[in-house]
């Protein structure tokens, strides 16, 4: 069975380590915060100027001056710090954030990622995504493996304008966890009940499949 959005987030959350500073993008990445493993403490960085993002506020504690990068009202945890956008991206660009999780339209086997525009159709702007992919040592991309017509988004070469070049090493989709190295995707884990064949079918890129592909554990 393909993973739900929540299950993708759960699988990503297994990559978190105690003491990590983490930046979670909009969409599925945001959900990761709900599945932080027991005994693991992480600090969430929000690129609009907050280290130590907490849960949503209550109606009583809502504060328009306290939002996250998705413009959602949030809270700050104990030990948080506020700072400017320049300082925030100094952290990101300077490689101080341990893990970044973000979504994508397409990724390819060279490690390129496209996530910010569809020419002539959709222009949301890159926001902080280009800085995040250039700056974070450790990036996980969460995305769907193919579009609703079954067309693969795991490509030999991205077709959309890039967000970053040769920067992506790990991708988690509803079907698989893959690593990119030596110009190919490597299948590391598959979603429970999903066959290697289905993954191959939905992957346009070169896919290296080892003899044994374990199922993800939750």
């Amino acid at each position: 069975m393909a993973l739900t959005r929540e299950q993708i987030a759960m699988r990503v959350a297994q990559e978190l380590e105690d003491g990590f500073y983490v930046n979670l993008g909009i969409g599925i990445p945001t959900l990761v915060a709900n599945y932080i493993p027991e005994g693991v403490k992480v600090m969430l960085q929000s690129e609009n100027g907050l280290l130590g993002m907490g849960q949503f506020p209550t109606e009583e504690t809502i504060d328009p001056d306290l939002i996250n990068a998705g413009k959602q009202t949030v809270t700050a945890v104990t030990g948080a710090a506020f700072f400017s956008s320049a300082e925030s991206f100094a952290m990101i660009r300077g490689g101080h954030v341990d893990l970044t999780v973000l979504g994508a339209f397409e990724v390819d086997q060279e490690g390129n990622i496209a996530s910010w525009m569809i020419p002539g159709k959709l222009v949301k702007g890159m926001g902080g995504a280009m800085d995040l992919v250039a700056g974070a040592e450790n990036i996980i991309v969460t995305m769907t493996h193919a579009n609703k017509h079954g067309v693969s988004k795991i490509l030999k070469k991205c077709t959309l304008p890039l967000t970053g070049a040769q920067c992506i090493k790990r991708v988690i989709t509803e079907l698989a966890l893959m690593e990119i190295k030596d110009g190919a995707f490597h299948l590391i884990e598959r979603a429970p009940g999903v066959s290697v064949e289905e993954i191959q079918e939905k992957t346009e890129a070169d896919l290296v499949v080892p003899d044994d592909v374990p199922e993800m554990k939750f």
Partner: protein, 233 residues
């Protein structure tokens, strides 16, 4: 009156000298930490041909969205269009020039402008549209893009509190782009929620020293509209 009294008492005075075709920076991230009254005043004045530098362009009908309505902006430099339909329309139709800039690069270009750094290298955007036409260089095995800095005729920013000498503090994530923009405007105007006497802000915790700020105005009122009202049960 001392040469360090930066307080002005009307939006007209705050924007004296602001004209058509100027370059203007506007603080804020989304609708958080924007100088609402100063934006409104430029809207009323109707100045056009503006080059606006701001992370976002407000939303339809609020913030910089109002300048878009009146077609006051000829060139927009920002990182995110978001849900602003008019912005997206003006961009796609080519009616307004839009220079989409990665958010961190934008923040650093503004900081550099204020700090007398004319250009710097960054890895952000290498290999993408952002790097097109720009110098690139491999330094110690990694590829970088040379980015020129940004300055402006006016910087319109929002702070929480100011003292009369223009020292500023910001509140939480309403800080965002405001401190860098304060440094990069030839004339920096700070719209604030409260003005206190000099000496009332602790000199150890001032976010923006008064040297960067030419005018301070107490805002009439702040709507502080929320874009994504998210609460827990």
């Amino acid at each position: 009156m001392s040469g360090f009294d930066k307080v002005v008492h009307s939006y007209e005075e705050a924007l004296e000298g602001f004209t058509d075709n100027m370059t203007v920076m506007v603080g804020g991230f989304g609708l958080c930490g924007i100088p609402e009254g100063l934006i409104e005043q430029v809207y009323k004045m109707g100045c056009s041909g503006l080059t606006a530098i701001s992370n976002n362009a407000g939303v339809d009908g609020f913030g910089l969205g109002k300048w878009l309505e009146k077609r006051q902006i000829s060139t927009m430099i920002g990182s995110y269009v978001g849900e602003n339909e008019l912005f997206e329309k003006l961009l796609l139709s080519g009616e307004m020039e839009v220079i989409l800039t990665p958010q961190g690069t934008l923040a650093e270009k503004i900081r550099a402008g204020g700090a007398g750094i004319p250009a710097f290298f960054t890895a952000t955007g290498f290999g993408t549209q952002v790097a097109e036409g720009k110098e690139t260089r491999n330094i110690d095995g990694r590829d970088y893009v040379l980015e020129p800095s940004l300055t402006a005729d006016f910087a319109l920013i929002k702070a929480w509190k100011a003292d009369t000498m223009g020292n500023l503090i910001f509140n939480k994530t309403a800080m965002n782009f405001n401190p860098m923009m304060a440094t990069a405007g030839k004339i920096t105007v700070a719209e604030v929620e409260e003005i206190v006497e000099a000496g009332e802000l602790d000199p150890n915790y001032i976010h923006t020293p008064g040297i960067y700020v030419q005018r301070v105005i107490k805002g009439n009122s702040f709507e502080k509209r929320i874009e994504q009202r998210t609460v827990r049960a």
